[in-house]
């Protein structure tokens, strides 16, 4: 616990009074969190109890309300406070001397530094990725469990309530604490480096954003311990079912708040960083497409996420405070929930895929050794998707009973989103054309992504066409579509990005043979798992059912077997990552011969990224142009590299 002593102290001047060393119990960290968290739980608990006692409500100890306020609001705040995410701000607010420019919590010098509140965007990026992959594995394990139940018709292992809980928790973990934050992790690592910036604009906010994430994930998982089991209304949590369900539902309502707050804070951070911290010469038209992608994604997040926060608060109020936002009594409007929910959750689909588009653009260009085809149109199509994303939410509600006139306009805008998406796909193909293709693992995942994402995009066309959607809605066709978009789409790009930046993050190279094995296992098992679901759904099997008609027994057995192989493929990936990080061959600073800035510094990059601010002189994708340069780095990289 003496990282202070090892940390660089570049700018100690100006602080004559060195910070008083505090005891273990008072120092920011896990020990302090271990007592502040329960302390805050009791504060929350007695706020509730006192209030109920004053009001004369019976019972005074209402454990649902106590768990809601103390367990899901004050205790997590205590946890964050104990870890030290608020220390600097509290010093500043209370007028005590702040430790400006003391970089004690910046950069990782030993592995324990990854378990502390750290302000280095590269450390936070890795914290994000490791945490989100833990949730990915847990979420995948839940999927294995309910695929075992679905392997045969009839009920074998679980009750229907448990089954619904497994399905709901699987989707929730994958969406809110895996895909969305995994992209935030990759972007956290890459974007400041790509911009030529020393860090994110608000490093302390960045640390806070990350630490809210384990809180959200823990809440989702803790719901399994609630009486009545985990939340069981799907990740969509439709009212009024959600306000009538057992207590586990509230864990979803509140978990989403923490994940959403984390997401919004990160997105703001990206926006400010991208707008204000570009290196000299880095105009918007010279930004790598990954940066463009995260810029548009962040706009989507800050505009849309408050809507899901609102929807979850209101549906929870219907339950705990007996309001009538979404119940049919007292003037509530049941469909209002779906409108508000999808006003976030449709843009969320693009939140979960635009960063992937950015990753794929980087990889396709580097591994084809060609400039990205139609760079400006690629950036403009991202903006096009951003705008259209807000005008298509009701295509999730074609059968919901909403106003009939909304269906045709929403169908047209939905179909039109295929145009900018098509531009991106065709431009990637044109980038491949006549290139010098190197089929390393990142490139395999990129090409695999294009093929599976095209299937997901085309099944999206079927679902946009209202009459077909009316037939296919709420069936396994939807399950197939969403997995082609979010697994074949998002998850493939996350794998591609991880393999691509792995040498930059760790300084070591992953095992290429295991990487390729991982790709082929994933690609084959993924298609074998999810492609048959198109047929199962169109033929008549609804989604989210624990039991189904016997005629679908054989095909579901096949699907389950391949889903287990898909699960096994993740073991190959995890083994490769861990062993390569520990003792893979040294990668060198630029193993892919890429032009973007992050590859021009050492691997892993120096703690403060650059010795001097880089000068950007050209486009990031000038492969094949003799003498072309994207960036000039004066003085080279800092020698000081973390262990």
């Amino acid at each position: 616990m003496t990282s202070t002593a090892h940390a660089p102290t570049h700018h100690e001047t100006g602080h004559g009074d060195a910070p008083r060393r505090r005891g273990l119990l008072m120092r920011p960290g896990w020990v302090r969190a271990a007592w502040v968290t329960p302390a805050f739980f009791f504060i929350g608990m007695y706020l509730v109890v006192t209030f109920r006692w004053i009001m004369g409500w019976d019972p005074v100890y209402d454990w649902e309300i106590i768990v809601l306020i103390a367990g899901m609001v004050t205790a997590p705040i205590g946890f964050l406070l104990g870890l030290g995410t608020f220390d600097y701000w509290l010093y500043w607010i209370s007028g005590r001397p702040t430790l400006v420019d003391d970089h004690a919590n910046h950069g990782a010098y030993r592995w324990t530094d990854y378990f502390k509140v750290n302000t280095d965007h590269k450390v936070i990026g890795i914290q994000y990725l490791v945490t989100t992959f833990v949730f990915f594995i847990v979420g995948g394990f839940l999927a294995m469990l309910f695929r075992a139940e679905l392997a045969e018709p009839g009920m074998q292992f679980f009750t229907t309530q448990t089954f619904n809980g497994l399905v709901s928790a699987h989707a929730t973990l994958m969406i809110f604490v895996f895909i969305i934050p995994a992209f935030a992790g990759l972007a956290n690592f890459a974007v400041p480096l790509m911009l030529g910036a020393p860090d994110m604009a608000f490093p302390r906010l960045n640390a806070l954003s990350f630490w809210m994430l384990p809180v959200a994930g823990t809440l989702f998982l803790a719901s399994f311990l609630a009486p009545g089991g985990a939340f069981a209304t799907g990740w969509t949590s439709y009212a009024p079912l959600a306000s009538e369900q057992p207590f586990g539902q509230v864990f979803f309502n509140m978990g989403v708040q923490w994940a959403g707050a984390s997401s919004i804070a990160t997105a703001l951070n990206f926006l400010v960083t991208i707008i204000t911290m570009r290196a000299p010469g880095m105009t918007f038209w010279r930004m790598p497409l990954l940066v463009w992608a995260n810029f548009t994604t962040s706009l989507l997040v800050v505009i849309a996420t408050p809507f899901i926060a609102g929807s979850q608060f209101f549906v929870m109020f219907d339950r705990v405070m007996h309001t009538s936002f979404f119940t049919p009594d007292n003037g509530g409007y049941v469909l209002g929930y779906q409108h508000i929910f999808w006003f976030y959750s449709h843009p969320a689909v693009y939140i979960m895929v635009l960063p992937g588009f950015g990753i794929i653009s980087e990889i396709i260009s580097v591994f084809s050794r060609k400039p990205i085809f139609g760079y400006r149109l690629m950036a403009i199509s991202l903006i096009g998707i951003l705008v259209l994303a807000f005008s298509v939410w009701a295509h999730h509600m074609f059968v919901a009973g909403m106003a009939d006139w909304l269906r045709i306009p929403m169908m047209i805008t939905t179909l039109l989103i295929a145009v900018p998406t098509g531009i991106k796909v065709f431009s990637w193909l044109a980038t491949l054309w006549e290139g010098k293709l190197h089929l390393n693992t990142p490139m395999l995942f990129a090409l695999g992504f294009i093929s599976t994402f095209v299937i997901g995009g085309l099944s999206g066309i079927y679902l946009a066409a209202v009459p077909i959607d009316i037939h296919a809605s709420d069936t396994y066709f939807i399950v197939a579509h969403i997995h082609y978009v979010l697994f074949g789409g998002s998850v493939f790009t996350i794998f591609a990005g991880l393999y691509y930046w792995f040498p930059k993050m760790t300084g070591r190279m992953y095992d290429e043979r295991l990487g390729k094995l991982h790709f082929w296992l994933t690609f084959v098992a993924f298609n074998a798992t999810f492609f048959p679901m198109h047929w199962v759904g169109l033929d008549g099997m609804p989604r989210r059912v624990a039991d189904y008609a016997g005629t679908y027994g054989a095909i579901n057995m096949v699907i389950s077997i391949f889903s287990f192989i898909l699960g096994a493929s993740v073991v190959v990936f995890v083994y490769n990552m861990i062993t390569s990080w520990a003792r893979g061959p040294i990668a060198g600073s630029n193993p892919w011969r890429a032009m973007t800035i992050e590859w021009q510094v050492s691997s892993p990059p120096p703690v403060f990224n650059f010795d001097e601010i880089p000068q950007v002189v050209g486009s990031p994708y000038e492969y094949g142009v003799p003498g072309a340069k994207h960036v000039v780095l004066k003085g080279g990289a800092l020698q000081e590299t973390p262990a």
């Binding site: 469909l335 098509g422 193909l429 069936t475 008549g540 609804p542 989210r544």
Partner: protein, 361 residues
């Protein structure tokens, strides 16, 4: 490249044609949905084959050895190509949009004289009400006539879908939703709830029959007679073969004790089916084996534990399900509105049916 795209096209077309993707249509609406589906499929096969063709060709033709560190030609773009792949997809998707809009308006058109059926959904049962307040737990439709459903839900959102008839519509508490189905072939089908509605969602189904118009009229007349005989709230037959009406009407007039008992037993069985008890409860007498709620087969122990006689315990559990909750089950799951939604005769009959003496098997 075109060769590979062609092969991809042939394979995809074969997959599209050889597998029967959509269930064989049983309604005019599904015919139109099937047409829209094939219209979109032709376009999608073309686009998919092109993309896969280019990827596979590039991988074969442009792959280089790992130690080749040359770069490709610095092509930055091509305005004409970019315009083409913006405009052509736009035209194609608009075409799909126009076809869909036309089909949608036709599928929503109930014509001048539709048969109107009211649908009431609740966890986890369907009830259908025909003109003249004829109630049924089975959906029976006449061939070749527009049937317009006016639907509402007593609790949460459900969704009505008969796969072979294509049409689907959520059934929402607080508002009324509509849907039109025009059956084109006779037969039996299954109506499925497709919106997650809680524990019994997977088993929330109802039988569907399509009859020739004359047979439908006969059925409706019988149902009407049966409702008359069993009182205003009486109701439905559990299956096509057993028609409850005749016996009920006939024997109550007789007034014998055995006749009354038989009538009540029949009403109990009917109510058990129409209220959806079997969606959640195992009950051998009714032939149900659902595991959502506690089994109803031997209630002596449970009633003893609650300190009540079996009939009282059954009545209490129907009218106020949360009063005593069997160990291992959750309160608040069983619908709490049966006291209002069922008539007192129906509840009496149900109590006798579920909680009565074990009859000879």
């Amino acid at each position: 490249m075109l060769g590979i795209a062609g092969v991809a096209g042939v394979i995809t077309t074969a997959i599209a044609l050889l597998i029967r993707w959509l269930p064989s249509s049983a309604s005019e609406e599904m015919d139109r949905i099937t047409f829209t589906y094939w219209f979109a499929t032709v376009i999608c096969i073309a686009i998919f084959s092109l993309v896969i063709g280019v990827i596979v060709y590039c991988v074969i033709a442009f792959r280089v050895q790992p130690d080749d560190d040359t770069d490709g030609p610095p092509i930055h773009g091509n305005t004409r190509l970019e315009v083409i792949w913006t405009v052509v997809p736009a035209i194609l998707v608009i075409a799909i949009g126009v076809v869909s809009a036309v089909v949608l308006s036709k599928n929503a058109d109930a014509g001048a004289n539709p048969l109107k059926i009211k649908v009431f959904a609740q966890q986890f049962a369907w009830r259908f009400v025909y003109p003249g307040d004829v109630r049924s737990d089975e959906l029976v439709m006449p061939l070749h006539r527009h049937v317009k459903f006016d639907m509402t839900s007593a609790d949460v959102i459900h969704s009505l879908w008969i796969p072979q008839m294509g049409q689907k519509q959520d059934v929402v508490p607080g508002i009324q939703t509509e849907i039109v189905i025009t059956p084109t072939r006779t037969g039996t089908f299954s109506l499925i709830c497709t919106e997650l509605c809680g524990l019994g969602h997977a088993t929330m189904r109802a039988p569907v029959r399509v009859l020739e118009p004359a047979a439908f009229q006969t059925w409706l007349t019988k149902q009407r007679a049966s409702s008359g005989g069993g009182g205003a709230t009486g109701g439905a037959t559990t299956g096509g073969e057993t028609s409850g009406g005749e016996t009920t009407g006939g024997e109550t007039t007789g007034g014998t004790t055995t006749g009354e008992n038989a009538a009540q037993a029949q009403l109990g069985a009917k109510t058990f089916a129409s209220a959806g008890c079997g969606s959640c409860h195992e009950f051998q007498k009714a032939g149900t084996d659902a595991q959502v709620g506690p089994s109803l087969d031997d209630l002596t122990a449970a009633a003893q534990k609650a300190g009540e006689s079996v009939p009282d315990y059954v009545r209490e559990s129907i009218e106020d399900p949360n009063a005593v909750v069997t160990e291992g089950y959750q309160p608040g799951v069983m619908p709490q509105n049966f006291k209002d939604s069922l008539s007192s005769e129906e509840i009496d009959a149900l109590v006798a049916y579920v909680g009565g003496e074990e009859e000879s098997k």
